[in-house]
Assembly symmetry: C2
DNA sequence: TCAGACATGTAAGTCGTTACATGATTCA
DNA sequence: TGAATCATGTAACGACTTACATGTCTGA
């Protein structure tokens, strides 16, 4: 039984926000969705072609004067129908494969210092991504409150002033963007908290095992 | 460039805990590591065969009288060397693909009630897994404090009373098991907190948008 | 003028899952 | 005796990623 075709529906769903080229989709995912989604060109372009064949998406060649030629894809009514069915359908839990935890788990025969380094490096990465998220959150909350759309968000939400957004649609987009960001913030916080807890435990254990280190700070 | 061969090293690392059959490995991962790792038979058995070919693991046929015949795999010294190199090497961040967040993100054209249902279902699953983790944690902490190994953990850590565990090795296994569990607990808590936050926001928005529902509890 | 962004694709290969296939042993 | 669990594997497929290949336009 074919498994879920996530790229398929991710692309379809993004095209429901607004018509875009493959390149636009890639950028949108990288810039705005990277904390919960990823796509590669090698999956994107074939998927786009398949969606067109299936009649869920239409392709139009946009070759404006002095413009780079590009293909703009739009969702069709049938595409909206399929998207809706998928949105209403069952949602798969991602199967987890956390290499950091695995390494820690497999480390019992290694020196404690190695686990400490593993955790410290992981912590540094988490801290950086947490800071990124937090900064984006500040921008987004201001946008939501003041109703202005800063440049940073235009590439995510589309900049069209003439875009025929029904009233409230824009603020609804901002809300789901904020909620998805909050997910990233909370997850990063939890990972950070885990690093701290694990580091404390491992360092304590290291001191207890190797009395020469007793009293050494850090 | 071949990507990291996680199954390869996961299997190698588990065999460093103790010799096991493929079936044992599968059960161990399912029962004790499911909150941060997964393996399928279709990956496991071929990997085991490859590890043997590579000389990192040795296979012995165990056909005791009245016993089911089985293959017991043990890590070789070369295998330990490779494992060690991998443990010390760089650790990849998993690329995230969270279908729940994606669906929420793609929902702006759908009724709020649909997002509420999505989040509620997700919350229910997270609550259940959080409870499982918390229960396991209680068992583990007691084991760590009292130095006794309850039956539930014997399938994870191995039950050998004659196992030539160097002093402290068992408690170190318990510690990394606890830490890996804590990772699951904290992650589940964060997901739960996010669900609550998102549900609050979405419900509030739903009420604001549809005044007929104003004042309706839940 | 040339680096860097824009833009689109393909080919090969990796990684892993599901479904299939098979059979032994235990225990109610 | 027959269901559940132990036990081992393969085949086909699905879903991606990486690396390659190619070209255009903009602006410092």
């Amino acid at each position: 039984m074919p498994r879920s075709k996530k790229t398929w529906f991710a692309v379809l769903g993004l095209l429901a926000w607004r018509p875009m080229s493959g390149y636009d989709i890639k950028k949108l995912v990288e810039i705005g969705l990277s904390h919960f989604w990823s796509e590669s060109y090698g999956a994107l372009y074939p998927t786009l072609a398949q969606l067109v064949s299936a009649g869920l998406v239409s392709r139009r060649s946009d070759r404006g004067r002095g413009k780079r030629p590009r293909h703009v894809f739009s969702i069709t009514p049938r595409g909206r129908g399929e998207l809706e069915r998928w949105l209403r359908g069952p949602t798969e839990e991602p199967r987890v494969r956390n290499e950091v935890v695995l390494k820690l788990f497999l480390s019992p025969s290694r020196p404690w210092a190695e686990s400490v380094r593993l955790l410290e490096e992981h912590r540094t990465r988490q801290l950086a991504s947490h800071e990124d998220f937090a900064a984006s959150e500040v921008v987004l909350r201001r946008a939501l409150k003041e109703g202005v759309l800063p440049v940073e968000l235009q590439s995510v939400l589309g900049d069209g002033p003439k875009a025929n957004q029904p009233s409230g649609a824009r603020s609804r987009q901002l809300l789901v963007l904020l909620l998805s960001l909050r997910q990233g913030v909370l997850a990063a916080q939890a990972r950070l908290a885990w690093c701290d807890e694990a580091l404390r435990a491992v360092r304590q254990e290291a001191r207890a095992t190797n009395p020469r280190l007793r009293g050494v700070a850090r």
